[in-house]
């Protein structure tokens, strides 16, 4: 060995060591990638391999740049408490792992650390892996993103190989480009979330199932089955009911592949579906189906009452009173259930419609939403074309995601969550949609089908079709969608003025016997009948909708002070008027000393003593000052003259006490915790 090579080796060691000290997991990922990724390039023609290598390289560089950008953005926040998380779920997983690390390494901890580290909530195999990595390799907020990126890339390349053999180069490369650069999936792939691992497990299941079904040798089939089973087991706790969803997905795919083998098997499958629907109509089975739908509906209603941008699938009345799924007493009729299911299916494809977007962040999602519509549209074309090319792979890809899509559609109620969880199905459907594009491209030279496209693939002999499609998407579709957003979006609720209004009998009736402090006339925009109002954190007695610009809010009895008026849609705050509600002093306008005559049996009158207070008179002074002599009356009752101090307010017909005119001869009730006695006012003292 020459001295030169010894020095070069030492320098290489120093560089690797320094990299390892800064990010141990990054070195591990690079080492693993150096071994694994070249294997994905094997077995392709030269040109395809070159393109694949470039796509992989661009995908890696883009992710490295994104992670580097995150590092720079987070620079001011780097300290011992830094988690590196950019969402609540990421923060929970990382903080749980780091709490466990502190406990294992003997760092100062509290009871809450033990509680979180051992909590059943959020326990899954990804958190276990995350914890081991944090314990062994130290806090790894950025290296972990690299690891997740590597898992995601590996999963994409596994499906690419399946799609390449099934549909050919065009569809496979199209699908790979979609999966690797779809914005939401891109963000996913470098997150701290469990989704990349779940995607890898799903890709391994599909690869294993296709391999096991296609292989000729028993050993090879066994390997395919073993891979699929191991991946299913690994994914078992990464999502709720992951085993059921994965098993049902594979079964759906294989049954579909078998059913669509010939016209006869297809007819048999249709008969079986009809029989299944008929069985579901049997009352006992129907009740179980309804029970399942009611459980799903409770979950959905619960999701609507979470912070974020919610959407509703049930009839509007079901969202009036927020309740957790466990506490919900929701029931559905058959009609309500049918509407719920239809809305759920439509919502999974359509929501958020362009005009439903509410914030600038959601608006930035508009192009991706249009691309999603395109993907779904192409799925119909691609499904037929892909079925002709490879029935098994298409059935497994589509069947695998169907149960997941159904569960998500029925239970989700939050737009942000839907966008995130839709990412569970896009990586599988993208290949089938891409097969649709490839199939369309193959028919271009068919003049009978494509009269506007010449034999060089140009639209009207001028623009290349592919370029025209991209230009149409950017120049036509996105502006149209933005226009619909501007025109049809729901006006955001806003409060422009809050003013006191006189309380009438109507409001007292609406208050249902509760004491009313005030009635507020609220003016603004975007009011809806289902809104709720609170005064700071105190719920209003009622939000009485008049029109989108006007509503009344009935305020319960409150202490003196200035309060915010807040409007909620479910649990989502939609408008706030700071310090707009002024509750003045509750003291009566006038205090008089009066004499009242009470009539009751002797034993009741004996309870009346000087110093008694009227227990119902909130904020009003009604105090017994002096008790006179009892005078026997007829029918076993006596009368008792009592001197009281009474707080009065100005009202209709003069001075009033508890909504009754207070004057000589008027009825009067004295109620304490020990008695309620009727009487009349003898001297009002006005």
């Amino acid at each position: 060995m020459t001295r030169r090579w010894a020095i070069r080796s030492a320098i290489a060691g120093v560089l690797a060591g320094v990299c390892y000290v800064f990010s141990p997991i990054a070195v591990c990922v690079i080492a693993a990638a150096a071994v694994v990724l070249p294997r994905f390039l094997q077995g392709f023609p030269d040109d395809d391999r070159r393109w694949l290598a470039w796509i992989i390289a661009v995908a890696i560089v883009a992710r490295l740049l994104a992670i580097g950008g995150l590092f720079l953005l987070n620079m001011p926040r780097h300290d011992d408490q830094f988690l590196g998380a950019s969402s609540g779920d990421e923060a929970y997983a990382m903080s749980r792992a780091l709490r466990t690390r502190d406990i294992r390494l003997g760092a100062p901890t509290g009871k809450y650390d033990y509680f979180v580290a051992n909590d059943d909530y959020g326990r899954n195999s990804y958190v276990a892996v995350l914890t081991v990595l944090q314990v062994v390799l130290g806090p790894t907020p950025y290296g972990l993103r690299l690891l997740n990126g590597f898992l995601f890339l590996s999963a994409s390349l596994l499906l690419f190989r399946v799609a390449f053999r099934a549909y050919g180069a065009t569809a496979a490369f199209g699908g790979l480009a979609v999966v690797l650069f779809w914005p939401t999936l891109f963000a996913w792939s470098i997150s701290l979330l469990k989704e990349p691992l779940y995607f890898l497990c799903g890709a391994l299941v599909i690869t294993g199932v296709v391999h096991a079904t296609r292989s000729r040798g028993a050993a090879s089939r066994l390997i395919g089955v073993a891979v699929a089973v191991t991946a299913t087991w690994a994914a078992r706790d990464l999502r709720p009911e992951a085993l059921l969803l994965t098993g049902a997905g594979v079964a759906t795919g294989l049954i579909a592949a078998a059913a669509l083998r010939s016209a006869r098997t297809s007819a048999t499958a249709i008969v079986l579906v009809v029989v299944t629907v008929a069985v579901a109509a049997i009352p006992a089975v129907g009740r179980r189906v309804m029970a399942g739908l009611v459980s799903a509906a409770k979950l959905q209603a619960g999701h609507v009452f979470t912070v974020g941008h919610a959407y509703k699938l049930l009839d509007a009345g079901f969202y009036m009173n927020p309740a957790t799924p466990a506490a919900s007493s929701l029931t559905l009729t058959h009609d309500e259930a049918a509407r719920y299911v239809i809305r759920a299916v439509a919502s999974f494809v359509a929501i958020p419609l362009p005009w439903q977007l509410q914030s600038a962040r959601e608006l930035a999602y508009l192009p991706e939403q249009l691309a999603w519509y395109l993907l779904v549209g192409l799925l119909a074309v691609g499904g037929a074309a892909a079925m002709r090319r490879d029935r098994l792979v298409t059935s497994v890809l589509v069947g695998f995601v169907l149960p997941t899509a159904v569960v998500l559609a029925l239970t989700n109620g939050n737009i942000g969550t839907l966008l995130r969880l839709r990412g569970l199905v896009i990586p599988y459907l993208a290949w089938v949609s891409a097969a649709g594009v490839a199939a369309a491209a193959e028919t271009i030279d068919r003049k009978d089908r494509m009269p506007f496209i010449d034999d060089r693939g140009r639209l009207f002999g001028r623009v290349n079709l592919f370029d025209a499609a991209v230009a149409a998407f950017v120049v036509v579709l996105i502006p149209i969608a933005y226009g619909t957003y501007l025109l049809f979006r729901t006006t955001p609720a806003g409060i422009t003025s809050v003013a006191d209004a006189p309380i009438s009998k109507e409001e007292r009736r609406v208050a249902g016997g509760s004491l009313l402090e005030a009635k507020l006339k609220v003016r603004g925009n975007g009011f809806r009948p289902m809104l709720r109002a609170t005064i700071d954190s105190t719920p209003a007695l009622a939000f009485v909708f008049e029109d989108p610009h006007s509503a009344d809010v009935l305020v319960p009895v409150m202490n003196e002070g200035r309060y915010d008026l807040v409007l909620y849609d479910g649990v989502q705050e939609v408008a706030r008027a700071p310090k707009a509600v002024v509750i003045g002093s509750n003291a009566p306008e006038r205090v008089v000393t009066a004499r009242v005559r009470l009539t009751a049996p002797d034993e009741v009158l004996a309870l009346v003593q000087a110093g008694d207070h009227d227990s119902r008179a909130l904020g009003r002074t009604v105090t017994v000052l002096d008790v006179g002599r009892r005078t026997p009356g007829s029918g076993g009752t006596s009368t008792l003259d009592v001197t009281v101090q009474v707080g009065l307010d100005r009202g209709e017909g003069g001075w009033v006490y508890r909504d009754r005119v207070f004057k000589a001869g008027a009825a009067f009730t004295l109620a304490t915790e020990r008695y309620i006695i009727e009487g009349i006012v003898v001297e009002a003292g006005l």
Partner: protein, 97 residues
Amino acid sequence: MIERSAIVQALTKARDVAARGLRESAVARRVRVLSGEFGALPPCVKAQCVAIAAAVGLVVVVLGVSQLPTAQRPVLPLASGIFLALCCIALAAPFRE
């Protein structure tokens, strides 16, 4: 048809330009020469090189990690062992026959 697309043509051109740039850059040329020379070494010398790199790397890791604040420090013995193994794989993998 796809090959005549302006977008695909632009992508292809970008790919070729980047590939040429990468091929002709001084760093890439130096790496290629080095890896070529390394590949031509006898297997026993390659093994010695990997062993030296791993040993030096291990020393750097131990020294570097000991300088980190406690809250940031990985578990030393296990981490070093992992590093040693991974270093060997990473250095040897690209140059395997």
